[in-house]
Symmetry: none
């Protein structure tokens, strides 16, 4: 029965995260400031600095909060990996397309490119858990002979996600379900036994 943050105001904490999410959605990222977040949240600046190391840390928390509520990637298991990956990549396309979520991802990318510590945090808190789930699903598919057994889960996952991610980050071409399906189709061929 530990009280981790004895007297931390939950009211302030969530106000800050909500304000951050809202601001990131409303305006270009370079315009977002700690002062702006504090003002929007009706909070003193010090309250932010007391609990987070930097603006990036707040952004990570803001995204983590949102994703935990949305229960990120339940990773379906219909028995057919292609079908499941189609579902997953389509959801990813939805996120990269949504005006609600995409700006948060963008903010996260910007911050983690600038701060190695933050990047590690993002990988540990967001990417690894996701990969762990995927790993489970891939092993089950391997057992069923749907994909080869000599390919690492991480690489296999990147084969699906990499092309989508590249397209999003560079804004080279449109992201839609058709594209997601094509990528799944090709990746499945690559992994075919």
């Amino acid at each position: 029965m530990t009280t981790e943050y004895p007297r931390r105001s939950e009211r302030s904490r969530s106000a800050i995260l909500v304000a951050t999410q809202d601001l990131i959605r409303e305006q270009p990222y370079p315009k977002i400031t700690i002062e702006g977040i504090a003002a929007r949240a009706g909070v003193g600046k010090q309250t932010i600095y007391r609990w987070w190391r930097s603006k990036g840390a707040v952004v990570v928390d803001a995204l983590a909060t949102q994703n935990s509520t949305d229960d990120l990637l339940p990773l379906p298991d219909t028995g057919d990996l292609a079908t499941d990956m189609r579902t997953v990549l389509r959801a990813t396309v939805d996120e990269f397309t949504s005006p609600d979520v995409e700006p948060l991802f963008r903010a996260l990318a910007i911050e983690s490119l600038q701060d190695p510590a933050l990047q590690r945090q993002v990988v540990d808190q967001i990417y690894r858990p996701q990969l762990a789930q995927v790993d489970v699903r891939f092993r089950s598919a391997q057992k069923q002979g749907q994909i080869r057994s000599d390919v690492d889960s991480a690489i296999a996952f990147e084969l699906f996600v990499g092309p989508i991610f590249h397209r999003w980050m560079n804004g080279t071409f449109t992201l839609d379900y058709a594209h997601a399906d094509t990528v799944v189709h090709l990746a499945m061929r690559a992994l075919a036994p």
Copy 2:
């Protein structure tokens, strides 16, 4: 054949680009400032603002300049696409690993994530020309029956580059030749006729 910048000082222009490249290599990107670049280049701030819209625009130019001198991606054609793509992806790994080039890519990514106009510029000036070359190589491979004909060059290219790019940007796993070879191997399977 008009003089595009009637009286622009070439001396200043190149001093600014070199200073930018040097600074990006020497210190974390968030510490780089226009004032710092101006001071390092021995140039007035106004001279930067006169010819570039933002720090990001200078960074794009700095990278473009370096790449044009290095003559980016000669795209080999040995007759075997797998061999050629292995060469290309290994070179890409080299760049993402080099302390000389990687920081520039990182800076470019940060800036283009923050400024849509800049992103478009990066795509047009850096990505598209590269893709055009790749397209030619892929078509020739298609004619020789090395890969399927019903896959778009852009998607095919992303299949190779996407996984590498994802790994670099998120810093999830190490980037080396072995990994590049694996990706090529898998992508070639995906594209096999």
Copy 3:
């Protein structure tokens, strides 16, 4: 009896005023900058802009501060107006001659010539109080029949101060006690009953 500036740092305030006085004495006025004052005072620029509207406003405050400490013009009353005015004008000559005070007056003149609001402030905070004292002394002299009663105090005072001031501002001729005495002598003749 409220606290007018709730949390203003007295340390910064006086450091700024002292730095301003020092700088004005040390170098020609056009070389004095807000940045220079801030640096000398060990203060952020914003702290100056927070409490003063312009460099001129700081200068006015700097002079006012100095004069209030020096207790400007005690205005003697020996019973003989000529004697007293001689004392006053000699003191004025001292100020216009002193390397410590003259530069401040000069700075003040420059600023108030450029900014009507500042000029009003100078008149209200510096000139009027001085004139009020003089007015009292003149009335007492009038009761004693030393000067005419039909001359306004303001005009009478200008008769003494004007010639000195004109000579100082235009740098036409030397300022010394002999000159001050001559002016007093003539002005007293002008005001004789």
Copy 4:
């Protein structure tokens, strides 16, 4: 038959002076810049720097030019000094009141307070000639027994001009003919034999 400025463009010279006068009248003095003058005169900056040492020097020239056309102070001689000085001081009040001339005087004062060399120039080119004329008039009045003979012309002149000048520069009270007449009346009493 010397050509003082062999190839100087009279067109540019007068355009610069006119532009300076116009700008000084149209806007607060601190807003006036060399670049602004050059642009208004349709002239290159270098043309200004070629012929004048500073903005102040241009201002002096601009005023001198205007005053020479207006034929500054013809100094009347009706035989009665009081009458003549009344005329002169009323004209001075007119100048200190005129929206056409006052701003130039103000500009001149600002500049000469900041630059000793300029101040000397103003005294030599503008004040001394004026004083010379006054000296002649005073001597003639002395001969006629209208004023004392033991008072220096310079001091006598300051007795008239000082109070007016002080009032103008400090903006303490209104300047009008009545005031000018009062000053003349008092100064004449001071100088009476």
